[in-house]
Every structure is written in C-alpha cells, then in structure tokens.
Amino acid sequence: MQPAETVQDISAGESMPLLIKRAKARLLRMHYEAGVGHIGGNLSCLDVMLTLHHRVLGEEDMFVLSKGHAVGALYVVLWSQGVLSDEDLRTFHVDGTRLSGHPPVKGIPEIAFATGSLGHGIGLAAGVALGKALLSLPGRVFCLTSDGEWNEGSCWESLIFAAHHKLDRLTIIVDQNGLQGFGSTREVAGIAPLADKFRAFGIPAYEIDGHDPEAIEQGLREASRHGPAAVIARTVKGHGVSFMENRMEWHYLPMTEAQYLRALSEI
C-alpha cells in the first residue's frame, strides 16, 4: 500500500499531466479505502474538473457539479487545492463524515449546491449567472453535467432559459462518456448528436478531447467567452484503468485490493 499523497506534494506550478496523475491516484485510493463505487464516472471527468479548477476558474467564478455522483472527483480537486485535507478524504463514506456520497448541503463552502438528483445543476447555475448579472457582480459559472443526465427534461428547460436570457456568464460542460445507469447512452435514449441539439437551442457547442488538459483549458476558455455555451468533453468512463474503461459495472462496483493495485500501476 502506498502512502496517501498530501496536498503539499502538489505545487501550483506543477504540470497538468502530473497533477492529474497524482489526483487520479488519490481518487482511486479514496474509493478503494471507502469500498464504494462510482469510480468510472469520476475518472471520466477528473481531468476536466482538475483543469477547470487549476487553470480556468478565478476567485469570483463558481463551479456547479450537476453530476453529483462524481463528487469523489470534486473532493479530490478540493484536496489538490488545499481546501480538503488528506484526513478529510479518509472520512469519505465513513459514519460522521462531511464528505457524503453526493455533494453535501452544508459543511464545505466551496460546494455550492447539494446535487445528486440529475437535472438540477444547469438551472441552479443559470440562477447564479442571472443573479450575478442583476447585481452587477463579477464572475462566471461553470456547470458540469453527465451525458445521460440530458435524458432529464429539466436540463432542456434550463437550456431554453439560459439561451433566452443570454446568460453569457454560463458555461455548460458535458462529460460525454457514453455510458449511463443501465446501458450506453446510445441504447437507453439516444440523443446524439448532442452538439447539434445545443446549437439548435442557440447554444454554441465546442467538442473537445476530455482527457487532453490543453484542449480542455482552451475549450473552456473559448466557450466562456461566448456564453452561454457548452463544451462537450469526449471522455472515457474509467479512464486510464484498462479493466474499467467503457465498462458499465464501474459505475457501481468497489475495487478489490488486487484491482486497486493494478489500477494504480496503470495510471
């Protein structure tokens, strides 16, 4: 067993690939120690979330995690920023933790909203974007959704609202890993091509490689200049771990010790 990384190991000037590697190791360790699943959808969006937080978000900006089941990745991002300690991460899923299995209502000010039921984040983010505009406050809002989440009608309600009110501070990110709860997005309720649908709603859509930090940074910066806009990040569920990649069961399963060690060796 390797010792856990501490936040001091991660310097501000560290390259994104190295930062991602370390965060990924910490994410795997956290899920392994907690004995919980959801690792697949956390691995798919970790690169985007890390790059967003370390390279794009400013102090006045807000992040809304609409795919609340990826809160593990968010906890690790907050750990990488020094907001959460290594000790905090060890409490993940443990009785009495602040770190619930979906974003908590209170206790971590950096987490704006208690999501976890899909289809809420865009409306919440749209409200913040509108509020900032009405109050002439600075800052942008970035909202990360899953791709299966777009089955929810409320997402489309919010998209119409964002386009109609020209919420230029709002950037929507889709973690397009192609898998959802009980099948692939294609099998369950196909909505491809998503980018065309966004464009038809009046929302510019940028398609990027969701595992290329430079492409992520560039795409997010570009999209946020043309908000309300969407960035569709093409990702791989379970990214970086061969036996997890594109496998639906890693939405749910905890890792055995052997699987954990193999996963660590691969990233």
């Binding site: 209502v105 909203f113 919440l124 409200g127 509108l130 509020g131 009608g153 309600e157």
Partner: protein, 301 residues
C-alpha cells in the same frame, strides 16, 4: 387577494434584493408588477422545475426571489427542486401559489391544490402562510420581504364580510367569541364562518380562531382556555385531512397532554360525486361550506 399581492409587491419592487419569477402566469393581474420591477420581473416560461432551480441560484447570489404560479404548479411539479434546491440548503425563496384548495373551481382537479401545505410542510425549514383576508396579504408580504427561510404563500379569494373588521394580523387570532364550540380555521373559509356565526346568539356562537401560519409552533393560552370550556374542537380547512391543520393541531394537543373530548374535522374530500363545479360547489360537496358547519353546531350533529 391577487391584486393586493401585486400592489404590495409593487411597493417593495425597488428593494435591491427583489426579484420576481413567474411560470408564465399572471395575465390581467401582474402587469403592474412587470412594469414596476423591470429587469427584476422574469417570466421563466412554462418550466416550473427550472424556475425553482433558477430561484435557488438567484438566492445563492444574494437576491430574495419570489416564484409565482397557480398553486398546483408551484408546489407539485417542481417538488424535488423545492426539496433539494430550496429547503435542504434553507434558501430564502418565497413560493406563491394562487388559488389554494378548490380555488380554480370548474377548471378541474389538475388545477386544484388540496394537499399543498401538508406536502410542503414535510420539508425542512419551510413555513407556510395562508392569508384569510386581503389585509393579511400585505402584512405577510412585509414580513416575507426579510424572511430568511423558504416560504409558501397560499393565495385565495378574501371572503371578509362587509360588516366585520378583523383584528390586526397575527399568526393566531380570535375572530369571534362565543359559548359554543371552538372552531379553528385557516384561509378564506374564515370569512363565511364569521358571517354565519354572527347571526347566532352568543350562547350558541362558536369561538372562532384563525391560524394563518403553519406549522403550528405555539398555541395561545386563550385558545386552550376556549377549548377547555367548550370541550369541542372543530377544525375547518380547504385541504385534505392528511397533513392538514386538523392533524397538526391534534398532534400538538396530544404532545402536550391536552385531551379534547370531541373533535370534528371539516376538510377537502376530493371529488365525491365525480362532478365538477365552482369552488362553492366543491366546498358544499365536502360539507366545507359555512352554512353546513354552523347547521351542524345548532343540531349538535
């Protein structure tokens, strides 16, 4: 009440934190507010789930949003958004439902709200305001402007009798004294009960109590004294029994070890005949009309 509601909001629309959302309703009622509030009046379209999430986001930015629709559409359609986005984080958003109970009459069951406050009061942090008279609306709005929690304001039509002036607004009020049973009512039904009770001699007249904020927290001593004297509590509400005022007061009294020898509950009972009509029609079918309630008192039924 909707006109008073609109006027009271117009008066407050210049507040820096004020913002109003409507789910595309308010024709021939809210136009003055739209004029007065300008960019702070937002028609969120026929999309109540989004409207509530947006309201939560606005509140998170530091605003004090009001979200309006007709009663069933403001509480039932976006229930999960109310729970997750407003109540769990305790954000100060006022939900306004027009036409509580059978208010939309012959428009039919989809437009009625017979279980609104009972449902909403299962959620944390939320407080319900049920005005009975027009004057209550402006008092409530003044209070709600600075209310730091989620709230639900259930509007209806005031039925205040012309010859009666209620005491100033408070959450609990005794509208009439009498030596008959003790009535506890919420909402506009109070008006009809006042009008019909005033025709009775004091010996038969009920002591009539109006409660306008829920859940019940403190019960006035005078109400308990009335109850002790009369030994008969009659609860009247345009809401189903489950989760309603009757259950709330019963629960409160039991918790405090107060026995009520006789308890009568007049409440909404859905659609007994399966036929539709005005608010008055539906009330009558449920035995919720004041004439029936008072007749029962006189006959001792």
């Amino acid at each position: 009440m909707r006109d008073v509601f609109c006027r009271s909001l117009v008066k407050n629309s210049g507040r820096p934190q004020f913002v109003f959302l409507t789910g595309d309703l308010g024709f021939r009622a809210l136009e003055p507010l739209r004029e007065a509030a300008g960019s702070r009046f937002i028609n969120a379209g026929v999309a109540e789930q989004n409207m509530i999430s947006v309201a939560a986001g606005l509140a998170k930015s530091g605003l004090r949003p009001w979200a309006y629709s007709i009663a069933p559409f403001i509480y039932a359609r976006p229930f999960e958004q109310i729970r997750n986005d407003l109540c769990l984080p305790d954000l100060p958003v006022v939900l306004v439902g027009n036409g509580g109970g059978y208010g939309y009459g012959v428009m039919g069951s989809t437009h009625h709200a017979l279980e609104d406050y009972g449902t909403l009061l299962t959620l944390p942090n939320l407080r319900v305001f049920v005005p009975a008279f027009d004057a209550d609306v402006s008092s409530m709005i003044d209070a709600l402007m600075d209310f730091p929690h989620p709230a639900y304001l259930r509007l209806g039509l005031s039925e205040l009798p012309a010859n009666f002036t209620p005491t100033n607004y408070s959450a609990w009020r005794r509208l009439l004294t009498g030596n008959g049973p003790t009535i506890l009512v919420t909402g506009p039904l109070a008006g009809g009960l006042v009008a019909n009770s005033l025709r009775l001699a004091e010996s038969e007249r009920p002591s009539l109590w109006l409660v306008s904020e829920l859940p019940i927290d403190e019960v006035p001593e005078e109400f308990l004294n009335d109850l002790d004297r009369s030994s008969h509590l009659i609860v009247v509400e345009e809401h189903v029994a489950q989760g309603g005022l009757g259950q709330m007061i019963g629960h409160h009294l039991l918790l405090h070890g107060i026995a009520v020898p006789r308890f009568t509950h007049h409440c909404a009972k859905g659609y007994i005949s399966g036929l539709y009509g005005s608010q008055k029609f539906h009330r009558k079918e449920c035995g919720l009309d004041a004439e029936n309630i008072l007749a029962e008192i006189l006959t001792g039924a």
